[in-house]
Symmetry: C2
Subunit: 590 residues, 2 copies
């Protein structure tokens, strides 16, 4: 190329008047106004208007007339002030134009399948197949540039706080919790396989045992699960581990990290500390361990009112130590029969059998189930829980406390969306702590770790591991932002004995434990310091901070929800020679 | 833990006198001097002497007596000045000691299989199996901390120069040049496979076509090849790509990068620009495209002298347009018969048939082949090439020019090592440019790309693609440091037509080209800007800069040369259920 740029398409202004400049970029658009050709030239930094005038050169004008959208060109010319009425205040370079004296066509473009600006409306399949065109849209460029800045800020913060970024391996070992591991056949050791890491969990613990003290890494992780909306088979994690700390040390420092990011990136001051809700509080008040605190609408626990109720539906729930919860919703007071039915239908889609409701008008309960309630119960409800004027009240009662609360949580979120209760300008962060350590898996008929098997139980709950494992709480904490989990972590077990006990509670035999995690168990015996950590879901974090509508809009080359790479067409078949080299065959499954 | 550190073990000095401090760390060593116990406490930052005195507490002393190496403890105490004769000038904290008032044992350690300081001498297998102990050694800690700093400096440099770090996928497509791809079976699309990237080459080109302009990434790459010394199946690359540039733009900016790193890291000013040798010059003068310029010892091309020689060995070489080269080595003038024989043996191990030699004493050639040379030839040699006094001269003659030069390159390197010609304190960087675009693969009976199929031929050599492909030169450049290739790159083909032509020269059919690289070929038609890039081998770079003796000493969890992870024991067998899910079987190969 002859004409190498002196400036980008985003940085010329009146200060550059009369300068001789060269720009390189794409023809974004093109107009012929009575023989004078106006081209908007685009690059990563912006857009500049380039003028081809017959007064300068009719040859140039003839060349310019043949330009098409997305041709790549270099232009040399003089920076001119635009006439006042032709200025564009929406363009950084809107006060000037470049009068072209030389044009070099660097590459031409075929007609696009669609105009760039229309891509957003096209199907995601098409966008992903022509990702190189999709990525030319300024909004996607901005997202990825912001992602870069957020990663840099993250690295700077952790480096300044004494953390060392250490790369952990990608070719690792498949683990028993690894049902969703991607596996990699070893050519040199036929019949054996590596696994891609679902997280660098054991490695970062080993790094603490190795004395690295403070580790972080922005790292790709892999999970071969059936993808839901906004999950990717490969995803990026900000992975952190610290020695000689407890929960508060980690939560405090992570609050500082998030605050710095918010300050630098959104110029927003977050109040510290973030609220810390126990798992139980979060479930009782919001019906989820990921409460969206941008709106109130708390669940009212009205179970105790119905101790002696004659209303059958509630009585059976109370007798079985269930949970009766209510959402008092003044904004929905005018809901029609139809709207209430729709809501009931929604409850069924999320696993409920249905809800009941009643209305409060002035100081009177009416409609719905009101006729089944005693005067005493009505009075109690009005006095203690339903103080808000004129509202509709939705009630879920279920003998399974967690199910009842979870359904109320779904309804709460559904109503918030439908009734526009969410202040989108708000950013609400909170911690959920004191999670149950284990949960019972009825399919596998054993306890499984709610976080992972390396999470430490609370000091005071160690005894419960034998007697009442389901009662033990974990030294775990999740960071919630606007109802999304953006990070999760825990204090780890740092003693061999406790780790072995944990494996046995999880019904992992000593032999299996040694086979799969022998190196970690052994390492715990050679002076493992107390340690803990956390991992942030970086894709989701970037999505929330850039206000993108999908994580696929903050990833350069995402897979579809069925884990396909449409541009490069992967996965694909491999050759028989490759397969033979690897010592594998395709099983006749389908 | 009760006692959380106020300081690290590396930062107390006389300024902290009489302060009450808490330290956390490992018991590095232990001495009992007449009832007073001295413990060296170690963490990432250093070592501090902790004193347990019966005058303070006999209980504490009794506890301290039971401590063992690598126990993890917390101590609270007062900072004391050491008596002048007990100071340790080799320790950052050598002027003080901490007199312990409280001791908390955080975790105990079994006896180590070996003392930490002895690990360096143990077998690499043992070191890798107990990597968590090996990594406690200060030298390995330092290497990894320096690696972190080098990565941070790299990111800072490229960010400041307008580069965006963009993550490219790990689950990609297997390519025809992908004989050494690691492959990953897809569970959701049975019978199909992803491949782990050998480099993000096509993605970074797509990013240029997408208009990102300047991209970089510090990224893991994968190659399943039979490992040589200092190769790893997963390795780290500093990957760079730029739009609207030519070779010089890239080389100039990369020189700036390297200069900044050297300045910041080694406080060394590298002279700019780095020497740029053409491939032909490098081969003629140094017998390699990776010349070590820390020592001279250039190859002398003495072919022309023997145009009319009667010495048979030389005449047959000259007649077949071969190459006769000499190394004039004054330092080896006293070589014995035995030493010369040994060198001849060495030449055979690297593929040569042997070399000849002669000696220069004063102004006379003697010994070796001198008797076969005419007076004329001797005179010519003395006049034009062998001006150095008293030396031994080694000569290789072969009809294959490149072979002849390569052998001389090996001998040059071998002699430099044996004769200590290398100034280890020097850092010599140079570029090798103007590589041949292609090389003929006699096994496959076709041309293969010397760099990769996306490398652009030199503008003036395009015509040669049809007529004389082997004569075409590439717009490629390698960065050499002390005889090691630390980076390689090229200007890429940015036009569909030329890329298709290149595939056809490589004997890749249009169908195969479309199947494997269809997306890239298509993308080239929608306005691809001129672009090029480079990739640095980060592991090797860190190794050279930290002066480590192996890349395994700058990687936290390296694999063995047979690609095994000894600590976690991978690769390993996976379950039948996993295999069934993935739709693969083990072939009965062995």
């Amino acid at each position: 190329m002859r004409l190498k740029r002196t400036h980008t398409c985003g940085n010329l202004n009146l200060e550059n008047l009369n300068q001789d400049v060269i720009l390189n970029g794409w023809v974004d658009s093109w107009r012929d106004l009575g023989g004078v050709i106006f081209v908007n030239l685009r690059d990563r930094e912006g857009m500049t208007q380039v003028v081809f005038s017959p007064e300068v050169s009719s040859d140039l004008c003839n060349m310019a007339k043949k330009l098409r959208s997305e041709d790549v060109i270099a232009v040399q010319g003089t920076v001119n002030e635009r006439p006042v009425d032709a200025r564009n205040p929406n363009m950084k370079t809107g006060d000037i134009e470049v009068v072209c004296k030389e044009l070099e066509i660097l590459n031409s473009s075929k007609n696009l399948p669609f105009e760039l600006k229309d891509y957003a409306e096209k199907s995601e399949e098409l966008r992903l197949k022509y990702r190189y065109l999709d990525l030319r849209r300024p909004i996607l460029q901005k997202n990825l540039i912001q992602r870069h800045h957020l990663a840099q800020m993250t690295r700077q913060f952790f480096s300044e706080h004494g953390f060392i970024e250490i790369e952990t391996p990608f070719l690792t070992k498949s683990t028993p919790e690894g049902a969703r591991d991607f596996i990699v056949p070893s050519r040199m050791h036929t019949g054996k396989f590596f696994a891609l890491p679902q997280s660098p969990q054991t490695y970062k613990q080993i790094l603490m045992i190795s004395g690295f003290d403070r580790y972080f890494q922005i790292v790709k992780c892999f999970r071969d699960e059936d993808l839901r909306k906004d999950r990717q088979p490969e995803f990026t994690q900000v992975d952190v581990e610290m020695s000689y700390v407890d929960e508060n040390d980690i939560m405090n420092l992570m609050e500082e990290y998030i605050t710095v990011i918010f300050k630098k990136y959104l110029h927003l001051d977050l109040p510290l500390p973030f609220p810390r809700l126990t798992y139980q509080e979060a479930m009782e008040d919001f019906g989820t361990d990921k409460p969206d605190l941008r709106y109130e609408l708390k669940i009212q626990n009205i179970t105790s009112i119905f101790k002696n109720t004659t209303f059958n539906v509630f009585r059976s729930v109370v007798e079985k130590d269930g949970f009766i919860g209510a959402l008092v919703v003044p904004q929905a007071v005018d809901y029609t029969r139809r709207q209430i039915d729709d809501l009931n239908e929604y409850v069924k889609t999320v696993g409920g059998e249905g809800m009941v409701h009643l209305k409060k008008t002035g100081n009177v309960l009416q409609g719905g189930i009101s006729k089944f309630l005693s005067n005493e119960e009505q009075k109690d409800l009005l006095k203690r829980w339903f103080s808000i004027d004129d509202s509709i009240i939705f009630i879920i009662a279920d003998q399974d406390v967690e199910k009842s609360q979870t359904l109320l949580g779904y309804i709460r979120e559904h109503l918030a969306n439908n009734l526009n209760l969410i202040d989108e300008s708000k950013m609400m962060l909170s911690w959920t702590v004191d999670f149950p350590l284990l949960e019972y898996d009825p399919t596998e008929k054993r306890y499984v770790a709610r976080h992972h098997p390396f999470t430490s139980p609370k000091e005071e709950d160690r005894d419960k591991l034998d007697k009442a494992p389901h009662m033990a709480k974990a030294r775990a904490y999740d960071l919630i932002m606007n109802g999304n989990e953006i990070a999760g972590g825990s204090i780890r077990i740092h003693q061999r004995e406790l780790q072995s006990k944990m494996f046995s509670v999880l019904n992992i035999s000593p032999e299996e434990a040694v086979e799969k995690f022998g190196f970690l168990l052994e390492a715990l015996e050679y002076g493992a310091p107390p340690h803990g950590g956390i991992a942030f879901g970086f894709d989701r974090m970037v999505m929330l901070l850039t206000n993108a509508s999908s994580i696929r809009d903050v990833i350069a080359f995402p897979k579809t929800t069925s884990a396909l790479a449409l541009m490069e067409n992967a996965p694909s078949k491999i050759t028989d020679i490759q397969m033979k080299e690897l010592g594998i065959k395709i099983a006749n499954k389908k």
